[in-house]
């Protein structure tokens, strides 16, 4: 059975599958974003440009790995690895090929929230260790953004947990399946709050303040090149997979078997829908100013999230 466990961890719902999913979702995101803007998007590498993200990743691996001499060498070289490992580990928790995650345990929702905060601290360390002004401004902005969206994110995660009376993502998926409903229909406000917080967490366009390329060159990623930048891109793609998988599991019913269709396909369709929604939001909006972001998060999003919790406590949406 150990061989089967290893197969599960490495190949099918495990690492290899997740890497393929990460590259596929980056392609979907870029293609859809380009189509909205009346462009073609990736076109030449592979059919319809499907292999373009892989080609980009390999190109960055082949490039020279520059380390600025002023930077903090140890942190600078270890941060890209941590940035990939954290979302990859978290994706093993989420139920993808069945109704139970690969390494699911009781209370993994708290772990997911902890990982999200840890990702931002990693980003801060990345910018801080590279000792460039643009990087430091980017990382301070990233920390500021985390302080704003973390509370609504936590409240939006509490909603499904209270409804399912469990802190395990797998149990929340099973609860939705047993009650034949989706979190989206029961807690639409929580879904909206969670979606906006995911946009902020992924630093996608309305909230791409930490890497605003018209103001601060590439934000906290300015000094990274070669394999380190490749790692950051891979980590970002895995984070998009993680965000869409979380939205799918908590609010869209997760990997439910649907007649003869295997749960993986149901999961893929739902999470592709979430990725398309993310890139649609990315195409529609312009970047907020920092003060607009903070004021919006604290003045509007937080009361709305609390309202959702009160509605759940009153018995609506349970």
């Amino acid at each position: 059975m150990l061989a089967y466990d290893l197969f599960q961890l490495i190949v099918f719902p495990g690492a290899l599958f997740l890497f393929c999913l990460a590259f596929l979702y980056e392609w979907v995101d870029r293609k859809f974003f380009a189509k909205v803007q009346n462009r073609y998007g990736p076109l030449y590498t592979g059919t319809l440009g499907l292999l373009q993200p892989v080609a980009d990743f390999l190109k960055l691996l082949y490039k020279e790995d520059l380390v600025p001499k002023a930077c903090d060498r140890n942190i600078f070289s270890s941060v890209p690895i941590v940035y990939v490992v954290l979302p990859l580990t978290t994706l093993f928790i989420i139920p993808i090929s069945g109704q139970t995650g690969l390494v699911a345990f009781n209370g993994d929702l708290i772990f997911v929230m902890f990982i999200f905060a840890l990702m931002t601290i990693t980003v801060f360390l990345a910018g801080w260790s590279s000792m460039s002004r643009f990087s430091i401004i980017g990382s301070v902005r990233s920390a500021l953004q985390m302080l704003s969206y973390e509370i609504p994110l936590g409240l939006a995660l509490i909603g499904p947990a209270i409804a399912a009376k469990s802190l395990s993502i797998s149990s929340i998926v099973q609860w939705q399946s047993a009650n034949a409903t989706w979190g989206l229909w029961l807690q639409p406000i929580g879904f909206g709050v969670f979606f906006i917080c995911m946009l902020a967490e992924l630093e996608l366009v309305p909230f791409d303040i930490p890497e605003a390329d018209t103001e601060i060159v590439a934000g906290w990623r300015t000094e990274f090149s070669g394999r380190k930048l490749a790692m950051f891109r891979l980590g970002r793609d895995l984070e998009i997979v993680l965000a869409s998988a979380l939205v799918t599991s908590l609010f869209l019913g997760g990997a439910q078997p649907l007649g003869l269709i295997p749960p993986v396909l149901v999961f893929l369709v739902k999470s592709l829908f979430v990725v398309i929604m993310l890139s649609f939001a990315r195409a529609l909006f312009a970047r907020f100013r920092i003060d607009q972001m903070i004021a919006g998060m604290w003045k509007y999003l937080l009361p709305i999230a609390i309202l959702q919790i009160i509605l759940i406590q009153l018995g609506l949406g349970v």
């Binding site: 495990g14 690895i81 990859l88 093993f92 840890l118 460039s132």
Partner: protein
């Protein structure tokens, strides 16, 4: 669900760390090696101005302490908000763990 692994989360973490380190190591092997040293390639990025790197430091220690406090209380609020179905020892245990963590952080001595 894994059936035969003792600590599944640790196993998943170790496995992903190994895979990522492997990719990183391969990247180091196949990457192009620079020739020109001392041509300004290793300077921090600047758009033509002179930006000495030593002047752009923020106080990391203070920030990390704030970040840790925020993380701890954030998770504590989450645990307390979701724990009202479990009457008994569990929420109190969580709170005590957090209290110990905060005490250790306060008296660890390097920031006052």
């Amino acid at each position: 669900m894994l059936s035969d692994v003792a600590f599944p989360l640790l196993a998943a973490f170790g496995l992903s760390l190994a895979i990522v380190l492997l990719i990183y190591f391969i990247g180091g092997k196949i990457s192009a090696k620079g020739v020109a040293k001392g041509t300004g390639k290793n300077e921090p990025y600047a758009c033509g101005e002179d930006l000495p790197a030593e002047e752009s430091r923020v106080d990391l220690e203070k920030f990390l302490v704030f970040a840790l406090y925020f993380l701890i209380f954030d998770i504590l609020a989450f645990v307390l908000a979701t724990s009202f179905y479990t009457i008994g020892i569990m929420p109190i245990t969580y709170s005590l763990i957090v209290l110990i963590a905060v005490t250790v952080l306060m008296y660890s001595g390097r920031h006052r």
